[in-house]
């Protein structure tokens, strides 16, 4: 065989390298895929045990208002925590969003240079602060203030909302900043060229064009608030009761989870019920994630 034909028929070193590279990256993604599937399967199996092994009806679980799995007979109504989680999340997002939009607008439209140099790094620093620190701040500052203002213990949904507001504000702000920055410059120029003031340009064009991005930021902040355990647990009071007022102790899915998982024996109804809460939490974060994707997809169709 002549050398040219031979070299063409043999796999070259570069082709082998190419294959090897592809294999390595594939293995990496495979590991992540396996982990995700395993976690979902594991939590689902454990979480379903409440209904399958202990024969609790899902209706009682979702709509029951009493949570006391160690009582006789056990009560496993998750509604108080579900509501607690929802209320703190939505309130925190409602308060944080206007502030976030205001701050992001300042950083991108009013003072873009200071924004990029100083404000954005500060925001990113805030995103990285561990949640226990936020919890401590809540415990040391917000709990006493709430106690003074509204009486009671100071623990409750109101205080948890404030702590979560602090926590999600930087997240929402920094994502909103990205959304505003990605609005093409020529939208602003053509609006100004039509005789708009800068403020009109911001609220009629920039905000509107950035709406999908801002919504993604808000949902992302909400999913962070919904999943936050430690900081909330430190200030909410952890009473698994139907929330009746903003300043009385309440509980969220995550706070009951972290409190209960170490204090129950594996295989008991008490333990299984907590796994069911975890399953609920996992499903909710899937919902939030799909919401983010859905918003992103809808806006890119335009």
């Amino acid at each position: 065989m002549d050398p040219i034909k031979e070299s063409l028929l043999k796999t070259s070193r570069k082709a082998k390298q190419e294959k090897f590279g592809k294999l390595v990256t594939f293995l990496c993604i495979l590991l992540i895929m396996v982990m995700v599937v395993a976690i979902i399967l594991f939590v689902s199996l454990k979480g379903m045990a409440t209904f399958v092994v202990n024969h609790v009806s899902p209706f009682d679980f979702f709509f029951g208002v009493n949570w006391n799995p160690s009582a006789k007979p056990p009560q496993v109504g998750a509604l108080p925590m579900f509501l607690g989680s929802f209320i703190v999340t939505i309130l925190a997002a409602l308060i944080a969003t206007p502030f976030a939009i205001g701050a992001a607008t300042f950083m991108t439209e009013i003072a873009p240079r200071t924004g990029k140099k100083i404000l954005q790094p500060v925001m990113e620093l805030l995103v990285g602060i561990p949640s226990v620190v936020y919890g401590f701040v809540g415990l040391a500052v917000f709990v006493p203030i709430t106690r003074h203002l509204f009486g009671g213990s100071g623990f409750g949904i109101f205080t948890a909302t404030l702590v979560l507001f602090l926590m999600v504000l930087p997240t929402i702000t920094s994502m909103t900043t990205d959304a505003l920055n990605s609005v093409p410059r020529n939208y602003r120029e053509s609006s100004l060229a039509l005789g708009a003031t800068q403020f009109q340009t911001i609220y009629k064009v920039v905000w509107r064009a950035a709406t999908p991005g801002i919504m993604t930021a808000v949902v992302f902040g909400m999913s962070r608030a919904f999943g936050e355990a430690l900081a909330v647990q430190m200030v909410i009071g952890n009473a698994a009761l139907m929330p009746t007022s903003l300043t009385s102790p309440a509980a969220t899915l995550t706070s009951i989870l972290t409190m209960g998982i170490g204090n129950s024996v594996s295989g008991t109804l008490e333990n299984n019920a907590i796994w069911s809460l975890a399953l609920l939490l996992l499903l909710m974060s899937l919902v939030f994630n799909s919401l983010v994707r859905w918003i992103g997809k809808r806006s890119s169709l335009k």
Binding site: N186, Y187, S190, L194, G195, A196, R208, K302
Partner: protein, 250 residues
């Protein structure tokens, strides 16, 4: 009397002098073309006329520009009013990501016009003037981003016409478009000449010779020559103009 009169205009980006002592006058209801190689200052000059250069930090401008009877760089100038009077069409078709209708009435709504009938009336009239009405009349509520580039550019022209400017600045309005769309836009501009004064930056020499009454040649921040288009192309006075037009450089 000339509608636009610039005298001894200098413009600096920081310390760099981008325009040297420009003096030029434009008459009413004419199309004037600004030609010259990239970076010669023609776009920069165009943007001094509606003060879009204000948006760039570190720009200093000396000299005078008078539109109508007003010095547009006087300290008490209302820039938003100036920009309503002096509209601008950009190089890239840049409709807002809204419906066609909302794009056209944007400037009117800014001015506080709320009457729906009046808005639709002006919308239709502007789109007709910009020769794009037949293309879009059945889809006024669709996103403007769904149109072709040429249609988008004509919607942008309609958006400018809706606020009834006196002067329209065009910054290479067809350089991002195919020849057919270019042709349509040129026809539109020629029809608009009756009512508007237009100043257009273009890289396309044939375009200048086709539609401009007057042509100005810029080179390295200086105005080299400004005259009737026919004279500029057939019998330019300056050697630089001659060289540029005949394609010897640039």
């Amino acid at each position: 009397m000339a509608l636009i009169k610039t005298t001894n205009l200098n413009l600096y980006y920081g310390k760099f002098e981008a325009l040297h002592s420009i003096s030029i006058e434009f008459e009413k209801h004419q199309i004037s073309a600004l030609i010259g190689p990239s970076g010669c200052g023609k776009s920069t000059y165009l943007r001094t006329l509606n003060r879009m250069n204000d948006l760039i930090p570190n720009v200093t401008i000396t000299g005078k520009t008078i539109i109508g009877n007003t010095d547009i760089y006087a300290p008490n100038t209302d820039v938003t009013k100036l920009r309503k009077k002096v509209g601008m069409v950009f190089q890239q078709p840049n409709p807002f990501p809204f419906s066609i209708y909302e794009n056209v009435v944007y400037g009117l709504k800014l001015a506080g016009l709320k009457d729906k009938e009046k808005l639709s009336e002006i919308c239709e009239q502007s789109l007709k003037e910009a020769a794009v009405w037949d293309d879009v009349k059945d889809k006024l509520n669709d996103s403007a981003l769904g149109l072709s580039g040429g249609q988008q550019q004509r919607v942008c022209i309609a958006r400018v016409l809706a606020v009834k400017p006196e002067i329209i600045l065009l910054d290479e309005p067809t350089s991002a478009l195919d020849p057919i769309s270019t042709n349509k836009i040129e026809d539109t501009l020629l029809k608009m000449k009756e009512h508007y004064t237009m100043i257009m930056v273009t890289h396309n020499m044939h375009q200048a010779s086709r539609i401009a009454d007057m042509t100005a040649f810029f080179l390295q921040g200086k105005l080299i020559e400004f005259d009737k288009t026919s004279k500029m192309f057939l019998n330019p006075q300056k050697k630089e103009t001659q060289d540029y037009i005949s394609g010897r450089f640039g």
